[in-house]
């Protein structure tokens, strides 16, 4: 695994990328813009499941409206995240926050598009079940964990 990380980090495009002083922060900026959009798309639905925010609409309607923005922000975050990772792959290899981030991300992606997706579509508009609230809280917790680990691995 470490050999793979080394190969990635020292591959020609990545060497060129690190040679540029502004490319890494530029990609990191796009990654952060994706985080902001992800925050909106995730929170507007999870808050609703928790009985907060847009309480006059059904969770299913909010979920449908947020879905393209959720997918769009993930489509921005994944490729930019992979590029940022490849820049300093061998540093991240030794950071537990990085491995927690990868694991939490995989769990979050599967969870969001299976269990959470079903709950949003099926939840009863009046009287949201305890189960749906737990799903919403878990969703927020997972994404905040991923963002937190993302911040931690960037520190010197």
């Amino acid at each position: 695994m470490l050999a793979l990380f080394e190969a990635l980090q020292y591959s020609a495009p990545l060497v060129a990328m690190r040679a540029s002083p502004w490319l890494f922060p530029a990609i990191a900026s796009v990654h952060l813009l994706g985080l902001a959009m992800l925050g909106g798309a995730v929170l507007v639905v999870d808050l609703r499941l928790l009985g907060l925010g847009l309480t006059d609409q059904s969770p299913a309607a909010i979920g449908r409206a947020a879905q393209p923005w959720l997918i769009g922000s993930i489509c921005v975050m994944l490729p930019t995240g992979v590029l940022l990772f490849m820049c300093f792959a061998t540093k991240y290899y030794y950071l537990s926050a990085f491995w927690i981030k990868v694991a939490a991300l995989l769990v979050a992606l599967v969870f969001t598009f299976t269990m959470r997706h079903r709950v949003i579509a099926d939840v009863c508009e009046h009287g949201i079940s305890q189960h749906a609230k737990v799903v919403a809280a878990l969703s927020v917790t997972l994404w905040v964990t991923i963002a937190l680990c993302g911040r931690l691995i960037g520190f010197p």
């Binding site: 900026s29 929170l43 507007v44 947020a66």
Partner: protein, 166 residues
């Protein structure tokens, strides 16, 4: 006292020295500042996208805006508090930073955009409340807001890197 003198005095206060030299407290404040993006910029983006007619366009604007503004307001309160502490840790360096200055100008513009919107277009919300695509002035206000918040995020991210460039 000149502005530089004021900043140098601020940098010499015990709080500023403590914040600058305490590695973990500084990084903790920075982490709070960045993570609050998820709440603040997320909610601001949803509101602006609604004004653009690109998200939740079936939700009346008069419902969506008052319901989401408290979350955005709470978020920006944390942002301003943590951001002020980050400034307080290194006032002279921050004030000298091009991106920090740009960020301040952008923040004032964003605030002006919000205030003008609430005092003019939002007063007549009844006229466009249920429009899937609101009138052009409303969409322009949303577009400007979205662009400014995005530029603020980029400028903020650039602040620690600028010393490698200039």
């Amino acid at each position: 006292m000149s502005l530089l003198g004021l900043l140098e005095w601020l940098a010499s206060t015990p709080g500023s020295v403590a914040l600058r030299e305490s590695h973990y407290v500084f990084l903790g404040v920075l982490t709070v500042h960045v993570l609050t993006l998820f709440v603040f910029a997320g909610m601001a983006a949803v509101i602006d996208l609604r004004l653009l007619g690109l998200m939740l366009s079936r939700v009346p604007a008069s419902q969506l805006i008052p319901r989401l503004v408290p979350w955005a307001a709470g978020g920006i309160a944390v942002m301003i508090a943590s951001g002020s502490l980050l400034f307080y840790a290194a006032p002279v360096e921050r004030a000298a930073s091009v991106f920090f200055r740009l960020k301040l100008v952008l923040l004032l513009s964003a605030a002006a955009n919000v205030v003008i919107f609430h005092r003019t277009l939002f007063r007549q919300v009844a006229n466009w409340d249920r429009d899937a695509a609101p009138p052009a002035p409303v969409r322009i206000a949303g577009g400007i807001g979205l662009a400014i918040w995005a530029a603020i995020i980029v400028a903020g991210r650039m602040i620690p890197y600028e010393r490698y460039w200039f």
